[in-house]
């Protein structure tokens, strides 16, 4: 992961500060709906492709209504893709049962399930990224607390997110120093590595201590203060109920195939 990765985190936070209908929804509503989305998408049998397509609605609506740049989400999905692609590509090797033909092209179950895995991957990752981009870490954290996640854990999550930039900056400086002294390489031998990383650790701890003292001096009592208590409005309920109904509908009927038959007139 390069330094650019952390700047991306910062950009996600900027996006979360926008003010759109999706951003105004309660964090809990978006969390619950996204979880429902993930569960339903994952519950499909492994050869299903067309049945999954209507589910692209949810992340795309979040992204469009939330004014989130598609390219940014797309790039993140691509960066994270290799593992799923590799595992997915094993399916055609192990599952060679032909299941359908398109003209002269015989498609095996393996290819179908490989395609299904890739589609699932894009859908689930896209939904999670869209959720963060239109909610932001802070609101997500208070939503988690209200949903009953242990406060210590959420606080720790928020601290981690805050310190990321601070420590990453220190790390970035070290990487630059190493590169300047060793002809552009980022790889050092083990002894140097130990002391470099050790120093980074000590510096981070010192930094944490200073930040902590500053926080205590400003009245920090072990809890993140909340500016305003989020209220659960009718639109939040409508958001959760509407999407859940859609997910159930799309799980029960293959909407894409129905539509396809209506257009092509094929099938029973």
């Amino acid at each position: 992961m390069a330094l650019a990765g952390w700047m991306e985190v910062g950009r996600m936070e900027e996006l979360a500060r926008l003010d759109t209908p999706v951003h105004r929804l309660d964090a809990r509503a978006k969390l619950l709906t996204t979880l429902a989305f993930l569960v339903v998408v994952m519950s499909f049998p492994r050869h299903v492709v067309s049945g999954l397509v209507p589910f692209a609605c949810y992340p795309l609506v979040l992204i469009s209504l939330g004014r989130i740049p598609v390219r940014q989400i797309g790039r993140k999905i691509l960066v994270a893709a290799p593992f799923a692609v590799v595992i997915g590509l094993f399916n055609p090797l192990f599952d060679r049962q032909p299941v359908m033909t398109l003209g002269t092209l015989v498609i095996t179950g393996g290819w179908l399930s490989c395609f299904s895995i890739l589609l699932r991957f894009v859908l689930t990752v896209g939904a999670a990224l869209a959720l963060v981009a239109c909610t932001g870490m802070y609101r997500l954290g208070s939503g988690l607390v209200q949903l009953g996640v242990p406060r210590v854990f959420v606080m720790q999550l928020l601290f981690l997110h805050r310190y990321l930039f601070v420590v990453a900056e220190e790390g970035g400086k070290m990487v630059r120093a190493v590169a300047a002294r060793s002809g552009g390489t980022r790889t050092v031998n083990r002894c140097v590595y130990g002391s470099l990383v050790g120093h980074l650790l000590l510096r981070s701890l010192d930094r944490a201590e200073r930040v902590y003292r500053a926080m205590v001096a400003r009245g920090f009592d072990g809890q993140m203060p909340q500016m305003q208590r989020p209220v659960w409005r009718a639109t939040d309920l409508a958001f959760v109920a509407g999407w859940t109904a859609f997910f159930v509908l799309a799980r029960a009927w293959n909407l894409a195939a129905e539509l396809g038959r209506a257009f092509s007139g094929g099938g029973p």
């Binding site: 799923a84 991957f121 396809g260």
Partner: protein, 346 residues
């Protein structure tokens, strides 16, 4: 070895979420019980540190490749198991949310694989007895490396088991295990070496740093952990059986493998049958038709496999494309909608 959502079933994901939730609740309780209030910021900064460390690589002598620190064991040595588990969990959450590294529903699996094993297995059962409190010297080096390898191998094995139980990937169990375990043996060696180097350095450079952190850590008795795990397992069992009754994918798949037949994908429960009635006919899943005709060529099967199947699969394809187009149009439409309230505010 972060697992993605695409590869696991809701049953496995949900079960592991329950397990991870149990672990987090227990660890949070422990940390709250014993901690000074600066432990939580300390955990935050160490979590950020683990992220930043991945920018630095060191060369592995003789191989030409390089490695970096994963962090599970180092965090445990510095913070103690409970705080380390919480820190690992938050690292994995941030990775899932911001870097798309590991999925949200797979988060339970990832917390278990990458957090539980180093903190509650490798550390108390290998590292602590082996090093007997000292953090330097040959014993400590060996203990660290063995603990790191053990933690990673257990985690990798858990990935294989979870993937297999989910039944989304067609990889056979043994093949996947053979793929995963040697890689993680190597990664574990690197991880152990890096962890030991850093711990040795910190102990030499500023012994009180580790001491200060350790004084804040909770005393880790194994019994409450085991009790917590038992509760989590019970909970998980309940969740799993609930899921299993409506969605027997994983089991079905393994059965199919045992009997050597292709999976039939016939939904077993009544709800599923009712809901999946239409989908059954229309999804790209005509492999029911192969029950009678497993090995024969497709052309010969034409009479027994009527054009309906062909038609429906084309319908599926056409429908998918139309749906996708509609969804994209919807998205573009929503995007061009004016944000009334927003503009009023600005």
């Amino acid at each position: 070895m972060h697992m993605a959502d695409a590869l696991i079933s809701p049953a496995v994901g949900g079960t592991m979420w329950a397990v991870a939730a149990g672990l987090i609740a227990h660890a949070a309780h422990k940390v709250r019980q014993t901690a000074r209030d600066n432990l939580v910021p300390m955990m935050g900064v160490l979590g950020a540190f683990v992220f930043a460390v991945q920018m630095l690589n060191f060369s592995i002598p003789g191989t030409g490749s390089s490695g970096h620190l994963g962090g599970g064991l180092l965090l445990t040595i510095l913070l103690g198991p409970h705080a380390a588990l919480l820190t690992m969990a938050s690292i994995l959450t941030v990775q899932a949310l911001f870097f798309a590294d590991g999925g949200l529903l797979a988060l339970g699996c990832n917390i278990f694989n990458l957090g539980f094993f180093p903190a509650f297995v490798a550390y108390p059962l290998i590292y602590r007895p082996w090093t007997r409190g000292g953090h330097t010297g040959g014993r400590a080096w060996l203990g660290t490396i063995v603990a790191a390898v053990a933690g990673l191998l257990l985690g990798a094995f858990a990935v294989v088991v979870e993937t297999k139980l989910s039944g989304i990937s067609a990889l056979p169990f043994a093949t996947f295990a053979v793929l995963m375990l040697p890689i993680h043996l190597a990664i574990g060696l690197v991880e152990g070496l890096a962890t030991a180097s850093v711990v040795t350095f910190v102990v030499r450079a500023r012994p009180e740093a580790i001491a200060a952190v350790r004084s804040a850590q909770s005393t880790a008795g194994l019994r409450p952990v085991l009790a917590g795990l038992a509760v989590a397992a019970l909970l998980a069992g309940g969740v799993a059986s609930w899921f299993a009754s409506t969605h027997p994918d994983g089991l079905e798949w393994s059965n199919a493998k045992v009997t050597g037949k292709e999976e039939l994908e016939v939904p077993a429960s009544a709800i599923h049958e009712r809901l999946g009635n239409v989908q059954e006919k229309t999804a790209l899943l005509p492999d029911y038709d192969f029950r009678a005709s497993e090995a024969t060529a497709t052309e010969e099967e034409a009479p027994r496999w009527p054009a309906v199947s062909m038609g429906t699969s084309v319908a599926g394809l056409v429908g998918s494309l139309i749906t996708l187009a509609l969804v994209v149009l919807l998205g573009l439409g929503l995007r061009s909608l004016p944000l009334r309230r927003a503009s009023r505010q600005s």
